[in-house]
């Protein structure tokens, strides 16, 4: 059963009086509680698609329904945990104060309290226990990203829109966070839309990987990852895992050749 239904979506931008087709004829069905990764060359419209699903931008053509509702309706109900590509931290707020923004804003809508996380323990979990009261300028790029991720977890929002959340992290930290994300997802069955450039990440985490191609941005393939759930690291490197890696790599390469 499809939860997020994306139908015939087109998105164009004007640049110097010329239309560029950022997204062309996107069709996609995403099930409730599933983990979907988006992968594709830079500029193929991954962030744009995430914005449209999150109600931050409107498509010129096509329809998006999430459980029968429009993205704007869900946005108004604070149903999205948005992790932007550039970590949106307010420089005058400490890390902890930044974690509190979603709770301070638009207060009449409250998050599902059962799934909310305690900000401080979440910060500890992403390795920032000593930086709770630090200002963003005192953090590295990867540390800022981790705050953004912890903040999305803290809200308990049922739909997570994560735009390359691990791009600035070192391998080890990335692994740790990947497992945390997987755990939170397994625990609460959130619907996750996850943009990445990393094939391994995509296969390991996802139920479905959406391969996109550029100019115009379109969905070139959708690969279902039928690895067992719950998964752990043992799956990495197994023949079936490697087959998915190869398949993904090839469908990405096709689009270049």
């Amino acid at each position: 059963m499809s939860y997020i239904t994306i139908k015939d979506v087109h998105k164009r931008f004007v640049r110097r009086g010329q239309w560029t087709e950022a997204l062309s004829n996107i069709q996609l069905d995403i099930e409730k509680g599933s983990f979907v990764s988006f992968i594709g060359p830079s500029g193929c419209g991954k962030s744009t698609l995430l914005r449209i699903v999150g109600g931050l931008m409107e498509a010129e053509e096509g329809e998006i329904a999430i459980g029968g509702k429009s993205p704007q309706e869900l946005l108004k109900a604070k149903q999205f945990g948005f992790v932007p590509q550039s970590p949106a931290l307010f420089p005058w707020r400490t890390v902890l104060q930044n974690m509190n923004i979603p709770f301070e804003v638009n207060r009449q809508k409250v998050f599902n309290s059962e799934e909310q996380g305690d900000p401080i323990s979440l910060l500890k979990a992403v390795g920032l226990g000593d930086f709770v009261h630090a200002y963003p300028k005192e953090l590295s790029g990867g540390m800022k990203q981790r705050v953004g991720i912890a903040r999305a977890f803290a809200t308990g929002a049922p739909i997570l829109l994560m735009d390359e959340p691990f791009s600035a992290l070192d391998e080890i930290t990335k692994e740790v966070l990947m497992h945390q994300l997987k755990q939170i997802w397994e625990e609460h069955k959130k619907t996750v839309l996850f943009v990445t450039h990393n094939i391994h990440e995509a296969v390991y985490l996802s139920d479905k990987v959406v391969v996109m191609s550029a100019r115009p941005g379109r969905v070139s393939r959708v690969i279902d990852i039928n690895l067992e759930r719950p998964r752990d690291e043992a799956v990495i490197g197994t023949p079936i895992f490697n087959d998915y890696i190869t398949e993904l790599r090839e469908s990405l390469r096709e689009r270049w050749g």
């Binding site: 931050l56 604070k78 932007p84 638009n106 200002y135 963003p136 300028k137």
Partner: protein, 265 residues
């Protein structure tokens, strides 16, 4: 470990204090000494240029004479500063929210800004008399423009991804303004406030010079007419001091508020 870091910060603090207070002070001491020497050895007449020693002697012996004048000028400048900057902030909010309103309002503000305030001040005196009100008005007008321009720019210069994040939470226009635009533009507002506060002293003095019975501007005018150069220089010195102290007062507040901002350090 603990101790050594403390010594380091203490050392840095001492060096900072030396840099920001002692060095300029030394320059002034040298300047005043040179001035003193020139006046003494070249026999400059006191009606042309009094020696610093004479000026300071005048200042200390008749300080009670200056005190009410200081109070009046300070009052006019401060009230003018507050009125001017508050109105400018309101204007900045309005103009940052709407390009249309900006296009309508900005030309008026520019016109008021480019018209020399010195020629408007006598007009205010004719309209509003010799009291403090016309001086406050001049001080307000003169401190309006820098704050208007900086606040409009500041409120507009919101970080795009922060703005998008706020929108993803369906934050209201006012939440976005008070939680994002306003704190984010504090560096702009403080830098304007530093300019405005010394401008407002100039405004008060300009107002006083076009007709007043009180205030340091008036003291300068009157003593110039009577060639009381020591008094005139004492008043000028007090005005300069007032400007420096007020600008630094803003700096102190700025440092408290902008610990997160690099220029606030």
């Amino acid at each position: 470990m603990e101790k050594s870091t403390e010594t380091v910060t203490w050392g840095v603090r001492v060096r900072n204090a030396t840099g920001s207070v002692m060095l300029p002070l030394m320059t002034f001491v040298i300047l005043f000494a040179a001035w003193e020497l020139i006046v003494r050895f070249m026999d400059v007449q006191a009606v042309i240029l009094p020696a610093p020693s004479v000026i300071f002697a005048e200042l200390f012996t008749s300080f009670s004479f200056y005190l009410p004048h200081i109070g009046v000028t300070f009052y006019e400048a401060m009230v003018g500063f507050v009125i001017g900057t508050v109105l400018a902030l309101i204007g900045g909010v309005v103009m940052s929210q709407s390009r249309l309103l900006e296009r309508m309002l900005l030309p008026v503000a520019v016109l008021a800004h480019v018209t020399p305030i010195v020629v408007i001040a006598p007009l205010f005196m004719i309209w509003f008399g010799f009291g403090t009100f016309p001086k406050i008005l001049v001080a307000a007008i003169i401190s309006f423009f820098p704050m208007l321009i900086n606040s409009t720019t500041g409120f507009r210069s919101v970080d795009e991804s922060n703005l998008e994040y706020m929108r993803s939470l369906h934050a209201s226009r006012w939440e976005i303004f008070f939680k994002l635009s306003l704190p984010g533009s504090l560096p702009f507002l403080f830098s304007a406030a530093r300019t405005c506060i010394s401008m407002s002293v100039i405004g008060a003095v300009v107002g006083e010079m076009s007709g007043a019975s009180k205030g340091l501007g008036n003291v300068v005018m009157v003593s110039a007419n009577y060639l009381q150069m020591d008094r005139m220089f004492a008043a000028i010195f007090l005005l300069a001091l007032m400007g420096i102290l007020l600008t630094n007062a803003v700096r102190v507040v700025e440092k408290r508020f902008l610990a997160w901002h690099s220029s606030g350090h």
